[in-house]
């Protein structure tokens, strides 16, 4: 079902549930993996994915369509992730590096990375990036999102996003090339 059709059906109370169900099925994997790459842990990603879609339900009636539905949903998911990571630091009085270390420890326990030293080091390097830069890196590197769409998701200019991605790549390569 196309986004426009979903929006039309959602506006009708008789077909609202059906339309929203279709919306969740269409975007759940994208949202889940976007969130999961930010918070690493599956349970956290599950909670944040559900929270994202609950917010989509609550605000979809006010969606003005000056952005695409896809970037609007990503924006909500992104805000959920950033709020989660920020509140985690506030709650436990953790500095930036400690949260990265905690996420890296979860990453090391991930069975899909077992035996792949370079990939594990790459993931650790990504986790060392500041949250917003990591977000930009993930959207570009893993999802190959257009900078214009990323600008809608993050509320940042295209130029700033390009610079942020470029610096992120340099930081990652530098970290991996450092002798351990």
């Amino acid at each position: 079902m196309e986004d426009q059709e979903i929006l039309v059906k959602f506006a009708d109370p008789a077909s609202r549930n059906l339309a929203f169900n279709q919306l969740v099925r269409k975007y759940q994997q994208k949202v889940y993996w976007h969130v999961r790459k930010m918070v690493v842990d599956h349970d956290d990603a599950d909670d944040l994915t559900q929270d994202t879609f609950v917010k989509v339900w609550n605000h979809l009636g006010n969606f003005r369509q000056d952005a695409s539905l896809y970037t609007w949903i990503y924006r909500i998911a992104t805000n959920e992730c950033l709020s989660f990571l920020s509140s985690k630091r506030r709650k436990f009085f953790l500095p930036l590096n400690d949260v990265s270390e905690e996420l890296a420890a979860k990453m090391e326990a991930d069975p899909s990375l077992a035996g792949d030293e370079v990939e594990l080091k790459l993931q650790k390097a990504i986790l060392r990036l500041p949250d917003k830069q990591r977000l930009v890196f993930n959207l570009k590197y893993y999802e190959d999102m257009k900078y214009e769409d990323m600008a809608e998701v993050t509320g940042t200019s295209v130029g700033a996003l390009k610079a942020s991605y470029h610096h992120a790549v340099k930081k990652i390569e530098q970290y991996i090339n450092e002798p351990s």
Binding site: V24, Q28, R36, V54, D110, V118, Y141, Y142
Partner: protein
């Protein structure tokens, strides 16, 4: 010497982490619908019917409710005000002895005008003789002495 790591040369994994549990994406829509459904059912049971009305109807309904509130307040205030029905007022007045009433009226001369006196002999001839100690003729003579034209002319 090892070749320096370059990100562009590294094979890109679409999903770098372990996949979620089996069937997770089959269950997720049901879990999300269950979370949004209570809010939807509450809307429909409480004020959901309002959404079915058009905007002008909802505005009109709101106006009726506000006006109804004013009317109810007015009526409640009216009914709670201490009022005495007309027939009870007459009954109470009838229970006061006429002697006391006349004495009261005579003691406060502002309340008895000459026109009251002129009507008295006609309405209650006995009272004139009993309480005023004047005959109807004397009352009539006193009235005749009054100027027929209003003094302010």
């Amino acid at each position: 010497m090892n070749t320096p790591f370059r990100l562009d040369d590294h094979p890109r994994r679409p999903q770098p982490l372990a996949p979620p549990p089996d069937g997770y994406f089959d269950r997720l829509p049901t879990q999300i619908m269950a979370r949004v459904q209570p809010a939807a059912s509450q809307e429909s049971t409480a004020f959901g019917w309002l959404k079915a009305l058009s905007l002008p109807l909802r505005t009109a309904l709101g106006s009726v409710v506000v006006l109804g509130g004013f009317a109810a307040t007015f009526l409640l205030n009216q009914s709670s005000a201490p009022t005495t029905p007309a027939h009870l007022a007459h009954a109470n007045l009838a229970s006061v002895p006429r002697t006391e009433m006349v004495q009261y009226l005579l003691a406060s001369d502002e309340r008895v005008s000459l026109s009251d006196l002129s009507e008295l002999p006609v309405a209650e001839q006995d009272m004139v003789g009993e309480y005023l100690n004047v005959s109807p003729a004397e009352v009539q003579a006193a009235l005749d002495e009054q100027p027929t034209e209003p003094s302010y002319l």
